[in-house]
C-alpha cells in the first residue's frame, strides 16, 4: 500500500518537477537571448563608438619640440646657438634602493640636504618610470665623474638636451635678448599646440620680436601607452621643423668696439647703416649675462639685477630717455631755414646770455662770456645757445614741434626690438594735456637747445640723424636683415617698408646744416675738432652736453664738486662721409660730463672701425 502510493507520487512529482525544469530552461533561454542582444548592441551597433574610446585610451600624442633657429650677425658669426646640456636624471623604478643611490650621489656631486629632500618628495609624487632631475647643466668634469661611477648607479642616467646659449655673453644682451622658461602668461599669447613640448620662449630683444620665425613647427608622435601612461611602442612620427635662421645687420666687431669705448659709463651707442636703416651696433650699458636667464635664473641673482641702481636690465638704447641737448640744434637750425625764419647767413650777437623782451631772466649760453657775433655755421660748430634761443623764439614752439615731428622725435621708430619708448617732443597741446598748464615763451627757448621737456632715446636720435644724412629720405632702424630656411637653405631678405620721405623745401638748406656739422668736426673752433683730424673723409657731427641737474641763476657748473650722478650726460650724433653718408653713430654716455671730450672720441672709434681705419697702436 505504502509502496504503491509512493510510486504514484513519484510519477506525479517527476512531472511536476519536469514542468518546472522546462519553464526554467525557457526562462534561461530568454535571459540568454537578452544578453546576446545586449552584446550585439555593444559590439555591432555601438562598435565605432567603443572602438574610438578604446583607441583614445591607449594612443596618446607626444609633441616633438622643434629646434630653435640660430641667430647670426652680418658676418655669419653665431650670436645665439643651441648647445647640449647634460642633466643627471634618476628613474625610480630602475633603482634598487633610492636611499642608497641618493647617498652615493650626495657624496659624488655634493648635493645639499634640501636638494635631497626635494628629490625624495618628487620621487614619491611621480610614477616610478618618470625621470627625476637630480642636477641640471653638468660640467664635463661632472659627466666624467658620473661615467666612472656609473656601475654603482643603476637607474641614474646623464640626459642630453638642447638649450639656448649666447656665446658672446653680455655683448648682445639687450639687442638679441634672451629666451626664458615658457610660463603661464606666455602660454596665453601663443598657440598652445605649437608650444607643446617647448620649454623656452623669447623674452626680450630679437629673440622675442622674431619668436614666430625662430620657434619652428612642432612635430608629434603617436605612442601606445598602457593604463599607467608608460610608453609601449611608437605608432607614428611626424618630425618637427626647425625654426628659421636669422641674420642680423649687427656687426660683432662694431658691437665689441661700442661696448669697449663705452667702458664703465652707463649709456648707449647706436650705429646704423644709413641706406638701409640696418642697426650695425646697439649697446646699452650696464649689461648682464643673458645665459643666466635661459634655464631659469635664481631669484637671488635676479633680485640683484633688478634692484641694482644702475638698472642693467633696462635697455637704454631704445628705452632710455635723455635730453637731446645740443644734438637737437642741427634739426632746429634746419627748421629755421626751411620755415624761412633765418637764412644761412643770418647772424646773432651772443653776449653770453639771452633775455626775452620785457623779462629779466637771463637764459645763459654755455660760454659765460659769449661767442660774440655768430652765423649759423659758427653757432652750430661752437654750439652757441644764444643763437638758438633767438631762433626758437622767432619760430615759436608750434612750428618747431611740427618740424621735429617729421624726424620722428616723440614717436616710436618702429625698430624690431620690443618695448621701445617714444620719448617726448613737447608742444602746447601736450602741455595742456599732460600738465594742464599753458606754454610759457621761456620753455620755447629751452626747447630750442634740446633741454627742458625734450626727451629722446638713442635710437630715435640715430634715426633722425640718418634721415638728415639721407637729405630727407625716411629711414627706419632694423636689426634683422634676412632669414634662412633651415631645410632649404634659402635666404630671404627682409624688405624694409618704405615710408614717405620728409618734406624738403630747399635742398640747399639741408646742405648748409650738414656743412655746419662738418665744421663741428673740422673747424678750428668746432666742438669735436679732434674727431675729424685724421680721417680721410668729412664727418658731419654734433656734440651735446645734457643737463641732469638744474643750476641756479648765479651758480656755476663745476664738474669737480658735483656728484657723479648729477654730472651732465655726454652726447654725440654724426654720420660719415658727410657728402655720401654710409654710417650713422649716436653716443650717449650718462654723466660723461662733456659731449666733445667724452662722447665724440667714442664716436670716432666707431667710425674708424666701420671704415677700417683702425690705427695700429
Amino acid at each position: 500500500m505504502k509502496t504503491r502510493l509512493t510510486l504514484k507520487d513519484h510519477f506525479r512529482e517527476s512531472r511536476l518537477v519536469n514542468d518546472r525544469l522546462i519553464f526554467s530552461a525557457i526562462l534561461a533561454g530568454i535571459l540568454f537571448a537578452i544578453i546576446l542582444v545586449r552584446l550585439a548592441t555593444l559590439q555591432i551597433i555601438e562598435y565605432k563608438h567603443f572602438n574610438d574610446l578604446s583607441h583614445n585610451n591607449r594612443v596618446s600624442t607626444q609633441p616633438l619640440a622643434p629646434q630653435r633657429g640660430l641667430i647670426y650677425d652680418r658676418n655669419g658669426v653665431v650670436l645665439a646657438e643651441n648647445i647640449p646640456t647634460f642633466s643627471l636624471e634618476l628613474t625610480p623604478e630602475n633603482v634598487h634602493s633610492v636611499d642608497n643611490t641618493l647617498t652615493t650621489l650626495t657624496k659624488l656631486f655634493s648635493l645639499s640636504s634640501d636638494n635631497v629632500a626635494e628629490i625624495k618628495k618628487t620621487i614619491k609624487e611621480q610614477r616610478g618610470f618618470r625621470q627625476v632631475v637630480i642636477r641640471k647643466s653638468l660640467t664635463e668634469k661632472e659627466v666624467a665623474l658620473f661615467s666612472v661611477n656609473q656601475h654603482k648607479l643603476t637607474g641614474v642616467d646623464v640626459v642630453a638636451r638642447l638649450i639656448r646659449h649666447y656665446p658672446h655673453g653680455a655683448l648682445f644682451a639687450h639687442t638679441v635678448g634672451y629666451v626664458g622658461r615658457l610660463n603661464e602668461r606666455d602660454q596665453k599669447n601663443v598657440d598652445r599646440n605649437e608650444y607643446k613640448g617647448t620649454l623656452q620662449i623669447g623674452k626680450t630683444g630679437v629673440e622675442k620680436e622674431y619668436e614666430k620665425l625662430l620657434h619652428g613647427k612642432v612635430g608629434f608622435r603617436h605612442i601606445e601607452t598602457n593604463v599607467q601612461g608608460r610608453t609601449v611602442r611608437e605608432l607614428h612620427r611626424e618630425p618637427s621643423h626647425s625654426g628659421q635662421e636669422l641674420f642680423l645687420h649687427l656687426d660683432i666687431n662694431l658691437q665689441k668696439v661700442a661696448s669697449e669705448v663705452l667702458a664703465d659709463y652707463n649709456g648707449a651707442i647706436v650705429a646704423l647703416e644709413v641706406k638701409t636703416g640696418g642697426v650695425l651696433a646697439m649697446v646699452s650699458k650696464p649689461d648682464f649675462n643673458p645665459n643666466s636667464f635661459v634655464s631659469g635664473i635664481s631669484s637671488k641673482e635676479y633680485d640683484l639685477l633688478r634692484d641694482s641702481a644702475d638698472r642693467p636690465l633696462f635697455n637704454r638704447s631704445i628705452r632710455g630717455h635723455y635730453p637731446p641737448a645740443s644734438t637737437l640744434k642741427p634739426f632746429v637750425a634746419l627748421a629755421g631755414l626751411e620755415r624761412g625764419v633765418i637764412k644761412s647767413n643770418s647772424k646773432t650777437l651772443c653776449p653770453g646770455w639771452y633775455k626775452l623782451p620785457g623779462h629779466d631772466h637771463r637764459y645763459r649760453c654755455w660760454k659765460t662770456h659769449g661767442h660774440g657775433i655768430v652765423d649759423l655755421k659758427q653757432s652750430l660748430a661752437q654750439s652757441c645757445d644764444v643763437y638758438f634761443y633767438d631762433l626758437a623764439n622767432s619760430m615759436g614752439i608750434n612750428q618747431l614741434h611740427g618740424f621735429l615731428d617729421h624726424f620722428g622725435f616723440g614717436h616710436l621708430t618702429g625698430i624690431d626690438v620690443p618695448s621701445e619708448s617714444s620719448g617726448l617732443s613737447p608742444s602746447r597741446e601736450w602741455k595742456i594735456k599732460a600738465k594742464n598748464q599753458v606754454w610759457y615763451p621761456g620753455e620755447t627757448l629751452i626747447s630750442g637747445i634740446g633741454q627742458g621737456f625734450n626727451q629722446t632715446t638713442p635710437v630715435q636720435l640715430a634715426q633722425a640723424t640718418a634721415m638728415l644724412a639721407m637729405r630727407g629720405v625716411h629711414v627706419k632702424p632694423k636689426v634683422a636683415r634676412a632669414i634662412r630656411d633651415y631645410n632649404t637653405n634659402e635666404l630671404t631678405l627682409l624688405s624694409s617698408e618704405t615710408a614717405e620721405s620728409l618734406p624738403v623745401i630747399n635742398k640747399k638748406n639741408w646742405e648748409s646744416v650738414i656743412d655746419s656739422m662738418v665744421e663741428v668736426t673740422t673747424g678750428a673752433r668746432g666742438t669735436a675738432r679732434l674727431l675729424g683730424k685724421t680721417l680721410p673723409f668729412n664727418v658731419a657731427g654734433k656734440t651735446g652736453t645734457a643737463q641732469v641737474f638744474g643750476i641756479k641763476q648765479n651758480q656755476k657748473y663745476d664738474a669737480e664738486t658735483l656728484e657723479k650722478k648729477l654730472q651732465d650726460h655726454a652726447l654725440f650724433v654724426g654720420f660719415a662721409p658727410a657728402e655720401n653718408p654710409e654710417f650713422v653713430v649716436v653716443v650717449v654716455a650718462e654723466n660723461g660730463g662733456s659731449g666733445s671730450k667724452v662722447a665724440a672720441p667714442m664716436a670716432k672709434r666707431m667710425i674708424e672701425e666701420y671704415f677700417g681705419l683702425v690705427a695700429n697702436d
Binding site: 513519484h10 517527476s14 518537477v17 540568454f32 552584446l39 559590439q43 562598435y47
Partner: protein, 373 residues
C-alpha cells in the same frame, strides 16, 4: 540505444567512462570550456604562463574531487546532507569571528595548509540539504516546509553577505530558491513572495554596506563617476564594444593587455573574451554554457528520485545564474556584485566547488538503476 552514426571506439570510451561514473558528454563540454578558458586567461593574465599553470593545477585538483563525488551514490549524499549543512554553518560562523581578511572582506578560513572559503562549501550544502529536506515528503511541499526551507536558505546567505560577499550570497540564495521553485511551490505563493521581497527592498538598501550601495548607484549611472566606481563598467563596455563582430584576435586586446580593464583575469574576464574574439567568440562561449547546463537539465529530468531531480536541476540552473549575473554585470545590465565567470575566471575555491557540483550531476546520472536497458 546505440547511436549508429558514432564510431565503435568512441562509444566504448563512453562506456568506459560510464563505468567510473563519468558522463562523457558533460565531461566533453567541461573540457572544451576549461581549455578555452585557460587560453583566455593566458591573455588576460598578462601572458603570464605561471598563472595558467596555477589555474591548471586547480582544475586538476577539482577534477579529482569531481571523480570522487561522481562515485558516491546520491543516496549517500542525501544521508550526509544535514551533516554537511551543519558543519558548513559552523564554519561560516567561525569565519566571521576568526577568519583571514582578503581584499577587504573576511571570507577565508586558514586551515594551516590551505586557505578555505566555507561559503564555497555552502554552495553545495544548501541545495543538497534543501533538496533532501523537501523531498522527504511528497511534493509539492507544505507551507511549513517551505518556510523551513527559506530559513535554511537565508541563514547562510545572510552570514555570507555579512563577510561581505554579496555575489556568493546571491548565488547560494538562488541555488536554494531554485530547489524550492522546482519542487512545485504554487505560483500564487511565488508571486506573493516576490511582492513581499519587492516591498522589503528599501529595508535591504538600509542594511547594505556603503560600497554595495555605491555599486548599485554606479550601476544606475556609471558615467557619473568615470574615474572612481564607474571606471570598471566603462572600461569593460569599451573592451566589449571594441571587439566588434570578430574581435581583435587572441593576445591582441588593447584594453586588457594594456591594463585599462580592471580585474581582467577574474570578474571581468568575459570582457577579454569579447574584446579578443568578438561577438562570434562570446556567442560560442555562451553556447557552451547553455550546452553544459542543458546536459545538466537533461540529467535532472532523467533522475530517478525527486531529491536527485531537484538537486541536479538546482546545480544546472545555478550554474546558468552565475553566467547570467557575471555577463549581465560586465555588459552593464546588472550591478557589479562580484560574481566570477564560472569555470573561466581565475580563482581557486570556486573552481573546485563548480566541478564538485558537476561530479554530483554525474553521480546522479550514472547511478541510475538501468531499467530501460
Amino acid at each position: 540505444m546505440i547511436n549508429s552514426l558514432s564510431s565503435p571506439e568512441r562509444w566504448s570510451l563512453t562506456l568506459a567512462l560510464r563505468a567510473v561514473h563519468i558522463d562523457a558528454l558533460l565531461l566533453l563540454g567541461l573540457l572544451v570550456l576549461l581549455g578555452a578558458g585557460l587560453m583566455v586567461l593566458f591573455s588576460a593574465g598578462d601572458q603570464n604562463i605561471s598563472l595558467v599553470v596555477r589555474q591548471l593545477i586547480r582544475v586538476g585538483t577539482a577534477f579529482l574531487v569531481l571523480i570522487f563525488l561522481a562515485n558516491i551514490h546520491p543516496d549517500r549524499m542525501r544521508d550526509l546532507a544535514y551533516w554537511i549543512y551543519g558543519v558548513g554553518l559552523l564554519l561560516l560562523i567561525s569565519v566571521l569571528m576568526v577568519g583571514d581578511e582578503g581584499k577587504g572582506a573576511q571570507r577565508w578560513l586558514n586551515l594551516g595548509i590551505v586557505r578555505f572559503q566555507p561559503s564555497e562549501l555552502m554552495k553545495i550544502a544548501v541545495p543538497l540539504s534543501v533538496a533532501a529536506y523537501i523531498a522527504e515528503r511528497p511534493l509539492p511541499p507544505s507551507f511549513l516546509r517551505i518556510v523551513v526551507c527559506l530559513v535554511m536558505v537565508f541563514i547562510p546567505s545572510l552570514l555570507i553577505s555579512k563577510q561581505p560577499d554579496l555575489g556568493t550570497s546571491l548565488l547560494i540564495a538562488s541555488s536554494g530558491l531554485i530547489v524550492i521553485f522546482l519542487s512545485g511551490v504554487s505560483w500564487r505563493f511565488i508571486i506573493g513572495l516576490l511582492i513581499s521581497v519587492a516591498s522589503a527592498l528599501p529595508v535591504l538598501w538600509h542594511l547594505m554596506h556603503n560600497y554595495q550601495k555605491q555599486r548599485v548607484l554606479t550601476f544606475l549611472n556609471p558615467e557619473s563617476d568615470p574615474l572612481g566606481a564607474g571606471y570598471h563598467i566603462i572600461q569593460s563596455k569599451i573592451a566589449i564594444g571594441s571587439g566588434g563582430l570578430f574581435g581583435r584576435g587572441w593576445l591582441e586586446g588593447t584594453q586588457s593587455n594594456l591594463a585599462f580593464l580592471p580585474e581582467r583575469s577574474t570578474d571581468f574576464i568575459f570582457s577579454v573574451i569579447a574584446e579578443e574574439f568578438g561577438l562570434l567568440g562570446v556567442s560560442m562561449f555562451l553556447f557552451l554554457y547553455l550546452a553544459i547546463a542543458g546536459r545538466g537539465l537533461y540529467i535532472a529530468s532523467r533522475a530517478q528520485s525527486s531529491f536527485a531531480r531537484l538537486l541536479a536541476g538546482s546545480i544546472s540552473l545555478t550554474f546558468l545564474v552565475g553566467v547570467l549575473v557575471n555577463v549581465g554585470m560586465v555588459t552593464g545590465l546588472l550591478p557589479v556584485v562580484g560574481v566570477p565567470l564560472p569555470l573561466v575566471s581565475y580563482g581557486g575555491t570556486s573552481m573546485v566547488t563548480l566541478l564538485a557540483s558537476f561530479g554530483i550531476l554525474m553521480s546522479i546520472h550514472t547511478h541510475r538503476r538501468m531499467m530501460e536497458s
